[in-house]
């Protein structure tokens, strides 16, 4: 191969040409995105959108979807969107009782920036299932949390804010569990007492080692309920009221479940089903008229076996928060209670 130029030079020229040809492709045109490539919707911006932007979007990258979007909801349920005037007060309370305590506990907003779900999807009505129960919230894939019944929220009503607190901490616990799993030791504390139709069970959940009826649905719900009720109630109510409950009830040896009605459980007042016709004859609206019928053979319940099981669950929850997220759960509990008091002041 005889050429005027040496192979070496040709190689250089070729390399230079390649370099030129590669960079000559560079285009400076800005990438123009389609106006809207998912569904194409025409929607306005309001003062509420700006307020939510300041409250949650900018600091935590949490989008609040309050406008109706059927695709976010299971079509088997009839649901309606929230009232616009309810959204900002509810989200403000929500931030106070959910994000603020974690910030106070971890010392910065980094934890919530990292672990908070990226979307809160709001429904105005509760989600009512065919069996008559309601779904208050759902957490999906660590990414979004669905909160229903926003129309009934009230930022100054402690009970309503506590409902919201319980709901968001329950769902957020699912998110935390979805990011870092808890030990399966938790699932074997009360393995045989998880039931699908938990709402039909007449048994006091504490007797079996559960913090609530819903906790009996399955272990993941149990975990979320244990966390969220402990945060909602605070240490005082949990230790001194929930765990120490001991309302007397008719001796099961004499009165099997279903053989008596409850008049006032806190006062230990029960009467026999078979006495009902006789009671109706003499009942004149006063307690005295029916008190002779109250069952006298009452026993104090012994929940110690259940309490012991619940204590085991509590220990796993505390250890999980420490090892997975380096959070002192009891201190978080105190912070949540402080925030709740402040929010409803």
């Amino acid at each position: 191969m005889k050429t005027i130029l040496k192979i070496r030079n040709i190689k250089l020229i070729l390399l230079a040409s390649i370099a030129i040809s590669i960079f000559s492709c560079k285009k400076n045109d800005k990438l123009v995105l389609q106006d809207n490539y998912l569904g194409g919707e025409v929607s306005g911006k309001t003062a509420l959108d700006s307020a939510l932007n300041v409250l949650l979007v900018k600091p935590y990258n949490i989008e609040v979807k309050y406008k109706w979007d059927q695709s976010q909801f299971d079509k088997q349920y009839t649901i309606v969107p929230p009232r616009v005037d309810k959204v900002l007060p509810a989200m403000t309370s929500l931030k106070q009782v959910w994000i603020d305590p974690y910030n106070a506990e971890t010392g910065s907003d980094l934890f919530m920036k990292t672990y908070s779900p990226k979307q809160l999807i709001l429904a105005g009505s509760p989600i009512l299932t065919k069996d008559g129960n309601g779904i208050n919230g759902l957490a999906e894939g660590g990414l979004d949390i669905l909160l229903s019944d926003i129309n009934s929220t009230d930022p100054k009503d402690k009970a309503k804010v506590s409902d919201l607190l319980h709901l968001i901490h329950h769902e957020f616990t699912h998110i935390l569990n979805q990011k870092k799993a808890y030990t399966t030791d938790f699932n074997v504390i009360t393995p045989s007492d998880y039931i699908a139709d938990w709402y039909n069970s007449p048994v006091n959940p504490l007797a079996l080692g559960f913090i609530s009826g819903y906790a009996r649905k399955e272990p993941v719900e149990d975990f979320a309920e244990t966390v969220s009720w402990m945060l909602t109630w605070g240490k005082d109510y949990y230790e001194n009221t929930y765990l120490k409950q001991s309302t007397p009830f008719p001796d099961p040896a004499l009165y099997p479940a279903g053989s008596y009605y409850t008049y006032d459980p806190n006062a230990g007042q029960y009467y026999k089903v078979s006495d009902l016709p006789a009671i109706l004859k003499v009942y004149n609206g006063t307690l005295a008229s029916i008190s002779p019928f109250f069952i006298k053979e009452l026993v104090k319940p012994d929940y110690s076996a259940g309490v012991a099981k619940l204590r085991k669950k509590e220990a796993i929850v505390v250890a999980y928060f420490k090892s997975a997220y380096n959070i002192d759960f009891y201190s978080l509990q105190t912070n949540v209670q402080k925030s709740l008091a402040n929010a409803t002041k």
Binding site: S21, C25, E41, K67, T78
Partner: protein, 287 residues
Amino acid sequence: MKKYFFYTYILFLLAGLFGCSKKDESLVFGNAAQQRALTDLKKDQLLLTSAPYGWKAVIFPGSDIGRGFFFKFNDQNQVQTYPDPSLKLISPAYGDPGISSYQLKSLQRTSLIFDTYSSLSILSDPQNGVRGSGYSSDIEFSFTSASSDTIRFTGNFNQTPMTLIKATAAEYDAYQKDGLQVFKTALINYSTSIMGKKLNLAIDATHNPECTIVTDKDNDRTFTLIYTDSKGVSQKQTTKWGPTVNSLFFQTPILYNDIVINEVFYDTAKLSMYIMWKGKRYEIVAS
């Protein structure tokens, strides 16, 4: 070996030179699908917002009587609503006139979505009516047909029919002055006045079919026309109606011979009902 490197370089050069060849593809329909969809949405929004005095509306939920509304849409995606006064009986807290938001969205069909809670949501709220499903109504509607002054919708969830009719200045004024309540009261008085009487739609000497109008007094809202057709067969047509500020607007039009009856008007001076057909008025005579 070196020789092959040489060819490799040539290959790179060719790739570099031809790799960025760009030919702009022209689109068959002019614009990208998304842009065409958006254009349609804008057009539909313009149709809604361009009615200077808003829209009279009637809606027929699956498990409820016909209901009347008034909507005035603006280009900021807000809608002013004047609801059927009877909705306040279902939901005392939310049954008042108010402003909420709406959006248009390309779903299976172009849809009008009342995307925050309004008095219309009362009919869909699962806490009202049948627990869990409300009154089988809708808050999301597809455009089924549209003329310049009437738009018909079908609900996306429960197929609830809804009709929007362009309002006049006088009608808009009436809605703002609690016109639906005034009309409701008038209808109750009317139904008292015709009690025990026979109603006939007087077209001409040989055509005077019998009508039955059931108003709020009996908590039902239907209109029935009974007549004998040209073959001598007795016919009966019944439809639900929803109130506008001056008429009973039918869910489905009633056809009598070649007359299409969409609504029955109420004459507040004569205290009687009539229909309009091709610019002419035909009375419903009580006797």
